[in-house]
Symmetry: C2
């Protein structure tokens, strides 16, 4: 490919609206163009990268006995009504009507389509286990797309679905897939992706893992234990706390706290540490706006995912008005009005001598003893794991909170979909059962962007060899010089004939433009042909990651290329 | 791949609702499953076939300097408003609103997205020509999907878009693409696909060709000249007729034709040949139901596409009621009411002594002389080319009408999209111009189904080697026999190790089931391992197309396989 003919513009300026580097570099390098909010077209360099990622995924899925199939992007609503998700999923699911008025959806995931495809096939236990997968366009109507390809509305995803006759078999396969994922990320150049326990969210099921690339630009928070290696998405990580109970409980005493609302101000005013306060956080159910009050230790934050899972419904932070029965800033567990769901976090269990709101304007209590004053309380884990917190596995106070981008996920779904959609098989005793399912996703575009995020400098992406758009980038500096032109042309032909993927820049532009364009394309190996080098009988061989920079005699260039590419693998 | 683990059911009975063979065989063979009207999921065998077709297309597009890109499936309506097609295309274009109420469409073709992707890039003449293409899911909300993958609503299509600075350059590229298409169809096993001149329809532009696989199940009619090789879609084919004028014109005479409406009945009643009648066909404009009367020779049929192109609007066959100013069955060119669009086909020019309706109940005229009685008439080509008709190229009465399936199309679009969407470049004199475009499509699934239609027998598809789901199918008849099992297992391993794609049937089923399943999978080469053959030290090697059937000594099987596959190429 001649760079001169490569469709797409490269430019120097960082686009104003880009928050993260991969987004900026992929726009600056002519990788993609925005079509609508969260919707992109890809130019050739990105399409070559995603095709290579797709092929790596395909090979690894085939290696664990996956069968590539294809589901439609557009599906009848009836399929999603069978599973119950047509109603349970919010606006992310794009619903529309076709010309005959039939309700349909755009696939954001394909559990329903997978069960539909195999429910006649899988009627005997002898057919199990099996796994089917596809690499296909998905649409998820995100409220806030961001970060270029990190969070988009339309994307290409590999989604796989496995079917089993026992939990043990699912777990074995889940582990095989986990290992295949590790190979995929390693082959794509991000071997440091870690798997973390996660919340299963709208997918259902119990056990699930996310594969996270740790990076400050990530939108997920991940708790990792430096001692035992435990890791989990903060959404799912258990929050362990050591509850301290003073020997003597002070009496519950009303205190005037004029105009003091926030937990910080209350603790400062009372001269008590935040750990000795009982904080209230208020939510409302999306369905009917009914109120939920969560009490937890003052230094901790609420984990909305845990609340959602416990309540089994969608919630949002409450909007408290004058008419509300709750008095913002002064909410406490004693004397709450009736008809409100009240929840208590584990961090309050057995504690005493706490401050808390008094449910009266400008008043708090001190001396709250949970056992004495709120004897009816039941305690659950509703708090976010914290940096420096206790590891739920090894018990050491060694949790660190990192940011990460989720590049893949795997779920043990159980029988959620097979049961809802009436898929059954006869076991070896002739009994009818629902198959147990697993599902396994990787976002192709997000993975490409994550690799860019993990491997770039100020000048452009540094693509790993296995997914780079081309392997070798030839720069003919001063192609108007006949000897340079001849040498560069010959090299281009010969390297292609040897099966290398080559991009060739023979434009009449300055070396500066040539090199900055090459940096933006991020091709691993660069060969500079120039009059100056040729005078010494040499070519200049450099790698985009700067690990290599040497002058190679013209007649040794092919061995040098071979060696260099091997070293970049 | 072991056949035992292949997901998908194969069965004997032809599904009741299948009109064409490929549809029936692809359901019977476990290639696909219907999800909704005109929407299918693919099982592994079909996905392997479509992937191979996609790869052949990709190689040929790359060979003519195509750059693979990717456009989104979902696009903002604004893009289609720019081109004007948001309004001009009917219900086939699926329109929907996203969660924020923005109007969007599902891509049925991507001219708009292509212009959007390159309009900043292509601002200088020096960037031209270039071609971009994608292989992507499309949605077209067909009113009447039919024939399995022949006419669906969701499909995978390769669509390519080229951009040029002169008509000559477009024409040269168009020819290159035409040749690439010939190679694609030949490589996919249907070298007999012919290209025919076609109507450009909603795509706009002037010159266009369709690539047709001639088959009785096709929904297109194609006129082919047996003498000079001229071919065109009947929609686009010029209808040439030799008009005969009698020496003496009879006077125009009113004739009582009680209750006689149809052209057949009128001609029989008057004892005149149909060629001597002037037939009326009535349409209405979709927009306002205004009437259009077309007069043409009684033995010819109206070509609605020609009418549509001439009128520049959508039309439909008229519904004539009591209130209508036209009297169905008695419409003629003399004495027509005002305010109706009247058109005359070339076949009436200079003719005389015709019968025609008299615009009075139960009356016709005889003795119509077009020159004398309808002097104001202008004549155009509005009739369908007919079997046995005159070839518009060589003039011989040698046209044959065939049926065909359109497996690809190419269009010279001109500046329709670049102009509408404001894409310009500066030419070498600094003048601003609109680039000239071509576009080039191939439906991947339809091509797979067409190959099946062209290559099958009663028992299943006969896949050409280049796109077959596997190359070799091993049947271990009586795998319970230890020697058979050992030999078949070894063969399976060794053939795979040599890089062949092998499907292996080692199930404990009868030879009958084994062979009928193999027929349905249509793999080109079959090796039967059985106790009976092994007793003679042999394996049985047969080809699905029955060109080969031989017993091969076990130790010569690899050479025999190599030779057989080479002969099937």
């Amino acid at each position: 490919m001649k760079l001169e003919k490569l469709v797409g513009d490269r430019f120097k300026e960082r686009p104003a609206d880009c928050v993260i580097d991969s987004h900026a570099l992929m726009l600056r390098g002519g990788y993609m163009k925005n079509v609508a909010n969260g919707i992109y077209s890809s130019y050739m360099p990105l399409r070559r990268i995603t095709r290579k990622i797709e092929q790596i995924i395909r090979e690894e899925m085939d290696a664990i006995d996956g069968q590539e199939v294809q589901f439609p992007v557009t599906m009848p609503a009836s399929l999603w009504q069978e599973s119950g998700r047509y109603e349970s999923i919010g606006d992310e699911l794009l619903r529309f009507k076709d010309r005959s008025g039939q309700p349909m959806v755009l696939g954001m995931t394909h559990e329903e389509a997978a069960v539909h495809l195999v429910r006649e096939y899988g009627q005997s236990y002898a057919k199990y286990p099996f796994m089917i997968y596809q690499i296909q366009t998905k649409f998820r109507d995100e409220a806030r797309p961001r970060g270029g390809l990190i969070r988009v509305r339309e994307f290409t995803m590999k989604d796989a679905y496995s079917f089993h006759t026992s939990q043990e078999d699912l777990e074995q396969y889940y582990l095989r897939c986990h290992k295949a994922y590790e190979r995929i990320f390693a082959r794509c150049g991000v071997p440091d992706v870690i798997s973390v326990a996660s919340d299963s969210g709208m997918m259902g099921g119990s056990v699930s893992h996310e594969f996270m690339l740790l990076t400050p630009i990530g939108e997920d928070s991940i708790a990792v234990c430096d001692v035992c290696g435990f890791s989990a998405n903060v959404e799912a990580a258990e929050c362990k706390v050591t509850n301290v109970r003073d020997e003597v409980s002070a009496p519950l005493t009303l205190t005037h706290t004029p105009d003091i609302h926030s937990i910080e101000d209350v603790c400062a005013f009372l001269n008590m540490p935040k750990e000795k306060s009982c904080k209230a956080v208020v939510y409302q159910r999306n369905a009917d706006d009914s109120l939920i009050v969560l009490f937890l230790r003052g230094d901790l934050d609420a984990n909305e995912t845990k609340l959602r899972n416990y309540l089994g419904c969608e919630i949002h932070p409450a909007v408290l008005t004058e008419e509300s029965p709750l008095l913002a800033g002064f909410i406490g567990p004693c004397g709450l009005p009736e008809g409100i769901t009240v929840l208590y976090d584990n961090s309050l269990k057995d504690t005493n001598n706490l401050s808390c709101g008094a449910n009266q304007a400008d008043h708090h209590y001190v001396g709250l003893d949970m056992n004495r004053d709120v004897p009816e309380a039941e305690y659950h884990d509703f708090a976010k794991a914290t940096d420096g917190g206790i590891c739920p596995r090894c018990g050491k106070p060694a949790l660190k909170i990192h940011r990460g981008v989720e590049v893949g996920n795997i779920f043990q779904l159980g029988v959620k979909y097979s049961k809802a959609m009436g898929m059954t098989y006869l076991d070896n005793e002739g009994k009818s059962k629902h198959p147990i399912m697993g599902c396994y996703g990787i976002g192709v575009g997000r993975l490409a962007a994550s690799v860019c995020e993990a491997h770039h400098d100020d000048y452009g992406p540094i693509w790993p060899l296995a997914i780079a758009p081309w392997q070798i980038h030839i720069c003919a500096v001063r192609a108007d010089d006949p000897q340079t032109r001849q040498q560069a042309d010959a090299l281009y032909e010969q390297l292609q004939a040897k099966g290398y993927e080559v991009i060739y820049d023979d434009r009449s532009v300055s070396a500066g433009i040539m090199f900055s364009d090459a940096d933006l394309l991020g091709v691993p190996l660069r060969i500079v042909v120039s009059p100056r080098n040729l005078k010494d009988g040499c070519l200049e061989l450099t790698s985009r990651d700067k690990s290599l920079s040497e002058k190679v005699p013209v007649d040794q260039i092919f061995e040098a290329v071979e060696k260099a590419l091997a070293s970049l693998k």
